[in-house]
Symmetry: D3
Subunit: 318 residues, 6 copies
């Protein structure tokens, strides 16, 4: 977790650059992000390369074209949402605008907002791609990139939150909160616009996820449904959990307070966590107890560590 | 659980024909389904008889006509959804189509799909009737069949999933997944199209229910809100729970992995279940411990057993 | 809890007049409601004074005007929902009608219903104001009254339920249940119309809250998301929890059966509560154990007691 | 034409009180309006009596109930538009609001506006009744009052214009013009809000009718489709036709300039009229020539005169 | 005009079987309808052959597929309206339902109605095909069958009227009038449901067309915009024009009264016709004068006569 | 009329550069367009100067802000359509998209199309400004630029047609025809995409206007409602009228065939014109006869001529 908010020196959070920066960072990153393990996603180009977005977009269009040909009843939907658009970010902006609009918040207004935000912030677009790769590689039920883009409400909720996060940083708070509210109603996912969320994040199923204002989530985190990252005690200020890179949080887990969940930790389903969890440690139960480091993790290299999490990740996936 | 998927020889799952078959079964069933106990639903005709559908439909129309007369503000809604239709399946198709449509997935398309699916698959229509009888007999807050048909999002989510299940079996997967997505957004109920669901199933309150791809649910099962039937460990393949006939799963329970919950078992609210649960056994806690067989269940006949579950069912109902 | 349903003589529930009466009470209340502690809401006028509604409404309009000026993209929304209306109850009626309408339940019908109900029942309007004050004073993420009015689905769900409660008491049950159904779909909050809910209640985040038919909730209660107040055992009759004044219920807590949660009690996040909880006592765990009275609460005056809860409330807030 | 705008002393326009007054007139009218001839509408109570509105409303409800019983496919529509409402003006306000709303002009806003305007201005309500009686008695294709209320776009356009006229008189011009615009789009009827329109007016078929800013139309006038009451010559000021009581204007007729069409005159279909037309005179042709007074009109009593117009009216009706 | 209404013995109207019969005619027609002249539509199969519907439908799908490939922005629309449907009548029913629906008349209801009507009445489907062939062969601006099916409001208005005509004949008058009303609003075309309309009819541009209750229109008639077929004189009864086969009526023409326009006659643009017009005669002017038979029409065979009209038809087309 | 289509050498059509070019013209125009006469629009900056668009846009915003302040009921509409937009073309694109969208042609798609077209074609934006100035200066009922932008369906129909014209020129004909169809339905104005329309054109009232495929309309033309520019005789090819600069066409006039209406001519209301009309000549009647040149037009300078037309224009305005 490299954001200043969390503290790069904290021993639990040593992944170099997690979190979603409030502004695009022109400086080169010192540590390249851990690549997805080749055994898991062997056919993919290196994540975050320049070619990623166009490659993923070409895959999405190919999938949509295949589905439109095979299923006439869905062809209109697929052309409207994917095949009539010139780029991934326009397709996403269109789809989000139609999902989140209401009788008092028109789709054209939201479409404009999403198109402009994605165009102005390359990091938002890179996060879209990373999240799509994450869902595709980690969720065995994910039938394709287009399946995630069109149907995963966790994916859509995060993309809308990232736009809301940019608005929040620009002090356009009323609009950011209105977006949060629509996402909470439409997707039943309630993430405060101020929360910082890294790349390659998967919200699987997503119903009922609640993430508080000062929460920070690293890169390559996977969060199941009904998970709460809540506050405790302080009326104002930094009061929500900090989640390190590569963490997996099982369904229904509740993490409260400004605690640190170290990189590569795993939180069991249904756990109640009120304390820090060291890196590569598993916490289970209500209240949670720590199970210590995992076997074979004594000297985990960054990338290895991540892939081991990913392999174990499916323990609680469905 | 009599479906081949679960294994009829498994000692936990000996109810003869649970689960929703992927295709209509022309063969006569060897075991007749256990009737609802007369003490619970004394005024009802025998369930699953040929006359059921028309009887339930006549009840629904009578209720709707009574409510339309008493409440002018609701009359338009009741005529549109119930009283203008010639049959239960057309009423349901209309109602589901209007609930699940979006600006990119038109109501006429969905209506066509639901009408055609219900017409082609008598088992879908029989399951609609059985689910209505289940809600009416088990839920003390159920004010009538029309109340369930129109207002229970769990009921509506299951009917839509059964149509998606048929599409999945016909290899129309993109459309099946699109339906799943709309159900997850509109009802906050996320059931994979491949999951097999029996008849007489009640999803009470239903918000937050998540059921994975290879899950199987028997007949006459009752599931409260926030219940997860999730996966664990295997990246692909058979990885979700198998729920026997007559099982009751309390609010917020999480069952993970390819475990077997035996017929007539009861899972306590908030439990985390990672192991098999024998028939007629109660599991409670996080992680769950087994409480053994229930008193008076030593020699449960099929029908008795079911009614005893139903009587106990309300332990966790609200 | 002063409603007859709960019993004013019950030792756990001695707050004088919680709950939402089924009909407007023309008699003067014997005990004035406990004021919010000045240390928490120092700038507010005395709650429930006659001037409250107009003061809060003037604040909401000022906030909306400020936001409309600062954010052109939101101005249309703010004028439609707030600035074009002559009173708080018309603004709320408009907003709720547009949120809850569907293709078969038109917004004009709902608007008519909400306007008429709020006009006829001053207690409904007073409760709106009290709930807005509660959110503003207790939730550190609440950016203003207008933020709560427009964006908090818990707030909106409660206001709709209170109208449904009035309809239920008038024996307009079909309409009341249709409202419940729409609230459950749109906000993922499922509260039976018969449940009695006091004033100054905060449903924070709100997703997944389920409250049963015979539940009673006192004044100044705070309930986090995923909380269930469910039934157990009895097929019909009084079967749901009674929540005293000033109680705090943490995220994901499940309270089942006709148990009494005493005034000022606190239920920990993720707890499963099947027994009575005495006043000013904390219950945690699955199943819950009692932690006894809190320090400094030996002689709690009503108002002190409330403020102590409110100060501690944020233990589980996010 | 008794309005001051037209000049009661003008020989062509001696009907005592045509036109729609800008404000409710508390003074008693000196001349009672000419009653509809009993031979034409024998079963009707005297027009403009106090009982008219309730009698017409009871007829409409009886017709709607009969149609709803006979035609289930229309029952929802009839309950929504007629049978769920407590009065004629609420039914009309609802129907107009749903017709004229758009994605940027919400139905609830328009409903509010129409309800408030009809409640505040008894003359608007009286004109609604008079127009319904006019359509019922003069149009042989009119199947009932409800047919006119629900389906006649000329009727609906006039009622909306009368509300816009009130707004115009209150100097709420932007809203009045927005209403005009919606009426012009939805009904293809373009009437300036400032135009004064009497009671008992029938716009039959109505498509393409255009009526300019300073036009005045008397009572009991019948106007077919494609009729223009346009201006000529003066850039500003009084520049449009004045139509006397009981005038009939055939399909496609064009009347331009501040000319006076005398009471009881008849303008042939397709005529172009640029000059005054004396009372009880027929004008036909392009440009129009006058055919002189009609036989038997030497001593026309007011009511006789009207009924003779009405009998002849159908010359160009369809 | 062979319908009994008009009188087959009338010398002006000797085309054998014009008009739309109220019920499907099981008897073989004595005279086959005049074929479209090969010089005009050389590539078309013989009209009204059994293969027509499938041939036209295959053309429409080919055009839509070509356009969807060439124009991604329109692909979603084309798949929704054409390419996802299994037959021409389902495509038309879907398109009409979405055009004519309103907030109180739902698209699913209309879709059901149109699908059922077209399925039950082969003559309706045959008329759809004949009208498409008419537009394609006569209108030089018609870019294809799909252009007419999707974009010609005259075509769509007639198809809706034919369904309303069937409803009227079944004494379902309230629904028939509701359809008329929606067509009048949406397409600005006002045709009474009782009017009988033949096959191969073209309403070009169509805005402002008004056709009265007892009007009858033969086969292969072409009518431009702003045309009125209105009534005169009789309060009730047969009071509207009868239009023979192959007649052409120019833009803005007004024909009033129960007059007969003979087969093959031509009515000039802007004419006012109050008298019978013999076959193969041209009427022009206000009021109209007759120009006598056309050269070369001394001995017109039926089919020749029709094609000569069709060749001359474009005199007033645009 | 300087477009090649019409022929710059034709004596009737000597205005230098009317019509809407199919593509932006990079070459400097040899003749500057005739300025609006100062006596008519004294306060306006010179038309077509670079500052026009920003000046008009600032006026529109000022008017909208004034109206929003004065009329809360309209404020939401004005913010959505005008005040939330950064430029005139975005406001227009938003407004048109919301007017012309349907359930199968989404507003976001149309918005995208209009934004892109207006951005790519400066001549489209210049024509928007010229048309606004034309309405403001010529129509005495025009209450402001915003009144025209928001409420004039003739203005909106022309702007949509100009975009369709660009699409037609790019051989995107299916989309162009779909736009034409929506405009014909929504505004009852039917203009073929191939028709070439100049700048400063006013369609007043606009209902029922029909303009054919090969019609050409010069600059500063005013056309009233129900006007037809139709074809005659030729099945294909150049078959519609050519309208010179500064022509005024009265309500209901019908002009048929490839005739030339010379610059500054005036066509009387209800006229039927089948022949050429020389410049500065008036044609009236059915069929039309020519009235010769106007007094004082013997030596009309271009700009004088225009203003004389504009002064006379209101002869038939309403």
């Amino acid at each position: 977790m490299g954001t200043g908010k969390v503290g790069a020196d904290h021993p639990y959070l040593h992944a170099p650059h997690g979190g979603m920066p409030l502004r695009d960072d022109p400086q080169p990153r010192r540590h390249s992000p851990p690549a997805l393990h080749p055994a898991v996603v062997p056919a993919y180009p290196p994540p975050e390369s320049d070619a990623d977005e166009s490659w993923v977009w070409s895959q999405i269009k190919a999938e949509a074209r295949r589905d439109a040909d095979a299923e006439p009843a869905l062809a209109s939907f697929l052309y409207a949402t994917v095949l009539s658009h010139s780029s991934l970010d326009r397709s996403l902006a269109f789809h989000l605008a139609n999902k989140l609009c209401s009788s008092t918040l028109l789709s054209t207004l939201l479409y404009d907002l999403f198109v402009a935000s994605l165009a102005a912030h390359p990091t938002l677009r890179a996060a879209v791609v990373a999240d799509l790769l994450a869902a595709r590689s980690r969720d065995p039920a994910c039938a394709g990139f287009s399946h995630c883009l069109l149907n995963y409400k966790g994916f859509l909720a995060i993309q809308a939150q990232r736009v809301a996060h940019v608005l929040w940083a620009q002090d356009r708070r009323a609009l950011a909160l209105a977006l949060q509210s629509r996402v909470a109603e439409v997707f039943a996912v309630d993430i405060h616009p101020a929360a910082a969320i890294g790349k390659g994040v998967l919200l699987d199923h997503a119903t009922g996820v609640v993430i508080g204002e000062t929460a920070v989530i690293g890169d390559n985190v996977s969060i199941l449904h009904h998970v709460t990252l809540g506050g405790t005690g302080k009326a104002v200020g930094d009061r929500h959990p900090k989640i390190g890179d590569g963490v997996l949080i099982g369904a229904g887990a509740t993490i409260l307070g400004n605690v640190r969940i170290g990189a590569g930790a795993k939180i069991g389903a249904g756990s109640l966590v009120l304390i820090d969890v060291p890196p590569r440690t598993t916490a289970v139960g209500n209240p949670a107890r720590l199970l210590g480091g995992k076997k074979g993790d004594d000297m985990p290299g960054e990338s290895m560590d991540h892939t081991s999490f990913i392999q174990q990740w499916s323990d609680y996936s469905i």
